[in-house]
Symmetry: C2
Subunit: 343 residues, 2 copies
DNA sequence: CGTTTCACCGTAAGCGGTTACATAGACCCT
DNA sequence: AGGGTCTATGTAACCGCTTACGGTGAAACG
C-alpha cells in the first residue's frame, strides 16, 4: 500500500497537499490536484483507515449490537438476513462498514452483554465508530436506555428509545395487527382470539393494541380469555392454541403475533382435528419464509424487511452528518392474504 | 476516554511503562504494574484501537466478505444466522470483531464485487484486518482464488481454495449425500433420482458424487435421466420434479441437494397427485427451518451450522497467531430422519 | 573495589494521516 | 511603490499507542 508521503515525494509536494486533495479539494490548485490524483491512481493509493480515524476521531464504521442471547439460545431473528442486506447496502452507499461488536471476548469485560451496555459504548469510542445500530434481542429493553443516554448516535430496531442522539425504527405493528383483525372481521368472524408475544416486548404490545382497536371499532367486545400470551416461539403458539381450544366457546379465528406462533397454532389445531381454514382462520405476523410453505399457506402481516436496514442506515447517517436528528421511523406493513383464512 | 498518557502522569511513570504493562507484563516491576493497573481500572482505561492498529499494523478485526449477489437478489444463505452466531462468538473469544465489508460505496471502486476482489483486499490492508472470511455467494468461485493468492489470511466457506495463507471449511457433502441415498436404499428404493445444485458449485458436485457412490456401492446402475440439475432454489426443485415425473419410469425416491428444492419437489409431487411419502420418498439437504414445518416433515442431511462459524474462526485465528496453516476442515453431517421417506 | 550483568524504566522515533498556522507570490488598490 | 487580499503550499504539531534504544542503580562477579 502506497502512503501519502510517497505520493507527495513523487509529485514534489508536501503530504499536506496530498491530504488536501482528498479532503478539501478546491483549496488546491487544479493542476497539482490532477497530478496528485493521477499518481495516486497509479500507485493505487488508499488512505490508511487507522491513521485517519486516529487523527479525525471518526472512522467509517458503524457498530452493530446484536446480542445472541445466551438465555434464549434458540432465538432467531425473524428476518436478520434481509435486515443485514438492507443495512449493509445502505451504509456502503455512504462508504461505511458494519462492525459486529462482541464484548464477551475481552477478558477485562467478561460478562458484558446487553445488561451492561457500557462495554459496547466503550467499543464505540475505542474504534471511533460513527454510531450504533441496536437489534432487539428480545429482552433487556431497559438496557437500550443506557445507549440512548450515552451520547453515542444510535438507532434501535423495534425498541422505542429516545435521546438527544438516539432514535428508532419499527414497523407499524399496531396498524398491521389492526389490518389482520380487520381481515378476519370482514370474513365474518367475531370470535377472534390473539396469541401475543412476550409482555415486555414493545412490538408485541402494539400488536395487541391493534387487535383491540379493530375489535372495538367493529363493535365486538373484547374477551380476556381470547388474549393468551406467548413468546414468539413456535412452541408457545402450540400451547396457546391448546388453551384456546379448551375454552367453552373456542374462537373461530386467531391472530398470532408471529408466524412462528401461527405455525405452532396451526399444528395444534391440526392435532385437535380441526381443519384450517375451514374450522379455524389463522393470521400470522412477520411473513417469514415458512409462512408461504406451510399448508395452508399463512395469511400474514408482512414487514418491509430490507427497508428496516435501509431506514436504520439512513437514520444513523443523518445523525452523523447532519445536526438534525430524525424522528422515529415507522415502516408500513402489508397484509399478505394466503390460504389460512379461507374466504 | 482516558489515554495512556493520563495514566502515566497519575502514576508518575512514562507512557512506555503503561504500554508495557498491557503488552509485555513481566518486563515491568510488580509494584508499578499493580499501580498502573489500579489507576487504569479507576479511569476505565481502554486503549484506543485506531492508534494501536496504526502502530502495530494489526487490528482486532477480521473481515467478512459476503456478497449479497445483485444478479440473484432472491438468494438466501441457508443458515447465515447460525453461521454468524458461531463466527461471532468464536471470534470474540479471541477478542476479535467481525467487520462486514462493503466496497460498493466507495466511489473510486464502484462496481467492485466478488468479480473484483482487489477492493476487498485493499480494505483488508486499509483497516489492518487480521484476515478475511469468505462466504460463498454461489457464483464466482474463481474470484476466491484471487483472495487466496493475495497473501491475506483467509478462510472460505464451502469453496475449496488453497494458498499459503488460505484454507476453507465445508461440510462433508459427499458423505452427507451418501448417507441420504443409503437411507433411501435401505428403505427398498432402487429408482432413486437426484436434483442437483448449480453445476459450478462445489458442494453441489460433492453431493452428486455421494449420490453416485451410494448407488454404485449398492450395485444400482446410475441413470442419467435421474440426475436433473437445479440451482438450490425452490422453483428449480419444482421444475426438476416435473421433469422426473414425466419420465417413462419415474423415480420412487428423490434426493434433493437442498431443502429448498426438496420443498419445491414436494409441492410438484403434491400437485401431480402424488402423496409423500407413500408414492414418493424425499430427502433434502441443509436442515433449514422449513424442513421441519413442511408436511410431511422433511428427512434431510443436517449441517453443523454454528460449527461452520466456529471452525472458520478457529482457522483464521490459527493463521493469525501461529505460523502453521490449518488444513481444510470438513465438518461432519448427520442424517435427520423425519416423515418424508416413510419407513 | 572495579566491572559486568541485569532488571527496570524513560526518551524519542515512528505508524500515516489531518489541520492550524505561517509563508510566499500574484494580484489589485490607492 | 507600499500595503492589503487572496490563493496555493509548506511546516510542524498532533492523534494515542508501540517499541528500539539507551541509561540508571543495584546485585553479582573476579
Amino acid at each position: 500500500m502506497a502512503t501519502g508521503r510517497e505520493i507527495a515525494q513523487l509529485c514534489g509536494v508536501s503530504v499536506a497537499t496530498v491530504s488536501r486533495v482528498f479532503n478539501q479539494p478546491g483549496t488546491v490548485n487544479e493542476e497539482t490536484r490532477e497530478r496528485v490524483l493521477r499518481v495516486a491512481k497509479e500507485l493505487d493509493y488508499r488512505p490508511n483507515e487507522s491513521a485517519r480515524a486516529l487523527s479525525t476521531k471518526q472512522s467509517t464504521m458503524i457498530g452493530l449490537v446484536w446480542d445472541t442471547d445466551h438465555r434464549r439460545p434458540g432465538w432467531r431473528h425473524p428476518y436478520l438476513q434481509d435486515l443485514l442486506i438492507g443495512l449493509k447496502s445502505a451504509l456502503s452507499a455512504h462508504g461505511y462498514h458494519l462492525l459486529m461488536l462482541a464484548t464477551s471476548g475481552d477478558a477485562r469485560e467478561v460478562g458484558a452483554s446487553l445488561a451492561d451496555p457500557v462495554g459496547y459504548v466503550n467499543m464505540t469510542r475505542r474504534h471511533h465508530l460513527g454510531g450504533l445500530v441496536l437489534i432487539d434481542s428480545g429482552s433487556d429493553a431497559k438496557a437500550f436506555e443506557t445507549f440512548a443516554q450515552s451520547g453515542v448516535p444510535c438507532v434501535a430496531l423495534d425498541v422505542a428509545v429516545e435521546g438527544p442522539r438516539a432514535t428508532y425504527v419499527t414497523s407499524d405493528n399496531e396498524g398491521g395487527a389492526w389490518s389482520a383483525v380487520r381481515h378476519l372481521l370482514s370474513l365474518g368472524h367475531s370470535r377472534i382470539a390473539t396469541i401475543t408475544g412476550p409482555v415486555g416486548n414493545q412490538p408485541s404490545r402494539a400488536r395487541v393494541s391493534g387487535y383491540r382497536r379493530a375489535l372495538r371499532e367493529a363493535g365486538v367486545a373484547s374477551r380476556d380469555d381470547y388474549v393468551v400470551s406467548g413468546d414468539f416461539y413456535r412452541a408457545s403458539g402450540t400451547a396457546a392454541m391448546h388453551r384456546l381450544l379448551a375454552l367453552d366457546e373456542p374462537p373461530t379465528a386467531v391472530f398470532a403475533a408471529s408466524d412462528e406462533m401461527a405455525v405452532g397454532a396451526l399444528l395444534a389445531a391440526r392435532a385437535a382435528g380441526l381443519q384450517v381454514p375451514r374450522d379455524l382462520a389463522l393470521v400470522g405476523f412477520d411473513d417469514i419464509e415458512v409462512a408461504s410453505v406451510v399448508e395452508p399457506a399463512l395469511t400474514t402481516v408482512s414487514q418491509d424487511k430490507p427497508g428496516f436496514g435501509v431506514a436504520a442506515a439512513k437514520a444513523i447517517m443523518a445523525m452523523i452528518t447532519g445536526a438534525e436528528k430524525e424522528g422515529p421511523l415507522v415502516l408500513p406493513t402489508t397484509l399478505v392474504v394466503r390460504g389460512s383464512c379461507g374466504g
